[in-house]
């Protein structure tokens, strides 16, 4: 599904990713853990196509096709989705207007027809219900005045509607209370499917109790320094990142 080869990325002359390799298979849930500032969010932005980052080397292949030349909108239409660590507030843009515009833009890019308004509303309402999102929130401007947890739920709602192939969740668990963590995790699990893969960035094992990963990768100083199964997350929880920091320094 996704293959990242020797990715080297800088921003304003600071190297942030230093030859990162990562492969996520079809239907796989891969977790990335790593210290603050190790480049996890940077990786997620580079996958989604943010322009501020300069890719010096390497490639990102989605189903064998290099997506680095594509704009963020084209990547979205190709099936990439990023649930932001800090979802943005967009004053004046109604949530429903936004959702409909996104959905139809992606359909159009794929040569599909527009969704009818009743179909659209039905889909949104169904997704909102599973994620226990209040209808009133849908009437407000996108993310404006939403609590941290509400914003994260709204990200998952978008993911559920857009049905992407490759989903990057950047610290979706931060800011969620215990119930919300369960609800959001169930939402994600419901989307797990053969043709859909996830890259789950988190600091805490507790998310991975709900969304059980197939693989766990440790990121440090812009590289994947260790990979393993779900037990790796438990080890990290116990021992921290000291070992990886030391190995980098050596």
């Amino acid at each position: 599904m996704l293959e990242i080869k020797n990715l080297v990325v800088q921003i304003e002359d600071n190297r942030i990713l230093n030859g990162l390799d990562l492969t996520v298979g079809d239907g796989e849930v891969a977790a990335i853990m790593g210290p603050n500032g190790s480049g996890k969010s940077t990786l997620s932005y580079v996958i989604a196509g943010k322009v501020d980052y300069e890719v010096l080397e390497g490639e990102i292949l989605l189903n064998g096709e290099n997506i680095l030349e594509m704009g963020p909108d084209e990547r979205a239409a190709a099936g990439v989705f990023l649930a932001f660590q800090y979802p943005l507030e967009i004053p004046g843009v109604g949530t429903m207007t936004f959702l409909k515009a996104c959905l139809n833009a992606q359909r159009k890019a794929r040569g599909e027809g527009e969704l009818s308004t009743p179909d659209f509303i039905r889909k949104v309402n169904a997704a909102a219900e599973t994620l226990e999102i209040n209808r009133d929130m849908l009437k407000r401007a996108l993310n404006v005045g939403f609590s941290g947890g509400e914003k994260k739920r709204m990200e998952i709602l978008q993911m559920a509607l857009l049905q992407p192939q490759f989903c990057v969740l950047d610290e979706t668990d931060s800011g969620l209370d215990i119930d919300a963590l369960r609800i959001v995790s169930e939402g994600v699990n419901a989307l797990r499917a053969e043709g859909r893969s996830f890259l789950v960035i988190t600091h805490y094992q507790r998310l991975l109790n709900h969304i059980v990963p197939d693989t766990v990768h440790v990121m440090s100083q812009g590289r994947i320094v260790k990979s393993g199964g779900k037990e790796l997350a438990l080890e990290l929880e116990a021992s921290g990142y000291a070992e990886y920091r030391a190995s980098e320094a050596a």
């Binding site: 322009v51 909108d73 979205a76 979802p87 004053p91 843009v93 833009a105 857009l162």
Partner: protein
């Protein structure tokens, strides 16, 4: 003497000549006021950038020639123009149609004016010495404005609208101004709306005309909002691309009255819309918004004067300008709080969105406060679209132009939202969408 004459521009000399001819043809009512207005204009001339109030909008440079006042167009010309007219077209309204500045009775709905409303063509009022004429020019400061005084000198047609005390008029009155023709012309219209005590009315005003013709409309709307009356006004400037469009709304506000006036500008190579508010009675409230979208070569000026002369007035002014290409936006806003006007609450804001590197926005906010217990403020912002917001929208699949459009709509939306007539609000939103679609 010789020097002074030499300094007059061709346009100023032309206007004097045109006035000599025109003054003989007007009905006699207000002829003294006309003479005075023109003498005032002659004395000050077309304002150049050296005149403080016209610092950013040099009319002397912009108006090279004085176009002759338009003749009343033939019936088939009117018919064609009305058929193509788009401004507020889908809205159920009582229409007063002005073609090239002349009220066309055939294309107007004077036969179905709601009860409690009277509408009199300006020329009938002048010929008959209508007592409402005394209510013209409700704000004193307009007498020192060359644009308004030119209108006063040349006003060739218009209407007097009176809404009887207590009347709540549901159907809006639509002042539809259509320009047509293939050569430059000028127009000067004056509409007076007197909303009597406790009455409520909505006036829509649309302006459109041919592209490529440097026509020169000068339209004035005088408003008297009596005690506890409510006046809603939505204005749409979709003038032709080469028009030099001047306009003034001046309103006198009675006690506890309310005015809402929202102006959307997309048209004209140069436009200046002037708003004069005189808070005459206590606790009057005003919402004054502007939404302007400018492209290559355009200049749009919004100039506001809010004169608080009574206790407890509240004014909210929000002007939003989108600048594309090498266009120029101008906002000049002055809030005066007279000594007597304690507890005045006036807030004025101008926000500008720059879509290009070549455009510019000029802001000139002024507060003149002579009372001590007031809350007044102004603010101005100017910036490009937020890259992070654009990325967020694009990461959800919106192509860049669509993402930009959504953000521009959101930016202007704040000013347009204040329009209380649903159909008019929707019409303004459509204009924003159409502008964005043309921009591509």
């Amino acid at each position: 003497m010789a020097d002074v004459t030499n300094l007059r521009t061709a346009a100023e000399a032309g206007l004097s000549k045109l006035f000599e001819v025109a003054r003989m043809q007007f009905p006699t009512g207000v002829s003294i006021a006309r003479e005075e207005a023109f003498r005032y204009f002659e004395a000050v001339g077309l304002p150049s950038r050296r005149v403080e109030a016209f610092k950013y909008t040099d009319l002397r440079a912009a108006l090279k020639e004085a176009a002759a006042p338009a003749e009343s167009p033939a019936a088939e010309v009117v018919r064609a123009a009305v058929q193509d007219a788009k401004g507020f077209a889908g809205i159920e309204a009582v229409r007063l149609t002005f073609v090239n500045g002349h009220l066309d009775l055939g294309a107007s709905d004077l036969d179905r004016v709601p009860g409690q409303v009277t509408i009199t063509p300006l020329n009938d009022a002048l010929a008959n010495g209508d007592p409402l004429l005394d209510r013209l020019a409700p704000v004193a400061q307009t007498r020192e404005n060359p644009i308004y005084q030119l209108n006063a000198a040349f006003m060739a047609d218009g209407a007097l609208i009176r809404v009887a005390a207590g009347a709540k008029v549901e159907t809006p009155i639509h002042l539809r101004f259509i320009g047509t023709g293939s050569a430059a012309f000028s127009t000067a219209t004056r509409v007076l709306a007197v909303v009597e005590e406790g009455a409520e009315v909505t006036i829509l005003e649309s302006h459109e005309g041919p592209d490529g013709i440097a026509y020169q409309p000068n339209d004035a709307l005088d408003v008297v909002v009596a005690d506890r009356a409510r006046f809603h006004h939505t204005r749409l400037n979709t003038e032709g691309q080469a028009a030099v469009a001047l306009s003034t709304i001046s309103a006198r506000l009675g006690a506890e009255s309310h005015i809402e006036t929202v102006n959307l500008v997309v048209g004209a190579v140069l436009s200046r819309h002037q708003i004069y508010l005189h808070f005459a009675g206590e606790n009057a409230t005003a919402t004054v918004n502007g939404a302007t979208m400018l492209g290559h070569g355009q200049l749009a000026d919004s100039t506001l004067l809010a004169d608080h002369a009574a206790v407890g007035g509240v004014s909210r002014e929000l002007f939003k300008t989108v600048i594309d290409g090498d266009s120029t936006g101008v906002f000049q806003g002055k809030i005066i709080v007279e000594q007597i006007a304690q507890k005045t609450d006036g807030k004025m804001k101008s926000d500008c969105l720059l879509l290009s590197d070549d455009g510019q926005m000029m802001n000139k906010p002024e507060l003149e406060i002579f009372a001590d217990d007031v809350a007044c403020g102004h603010g101005a912002t100017c910036g490009a679209l937020d890259d992070d917001l654009l990325f967020y929208l694009m990461a959800r699949g919106l192509p860049k132009p669509q993402a930009e459009s959504l953000l521009v709509q959101a930016f202007l939306g704040e000013a347009v939202e204040a329009v209380s007539h649903e159909g008019a609000r929707a019409a303004l939103i459509s204009e924003v969408e159409a502008w964005l679609a043309r921009r591509g």
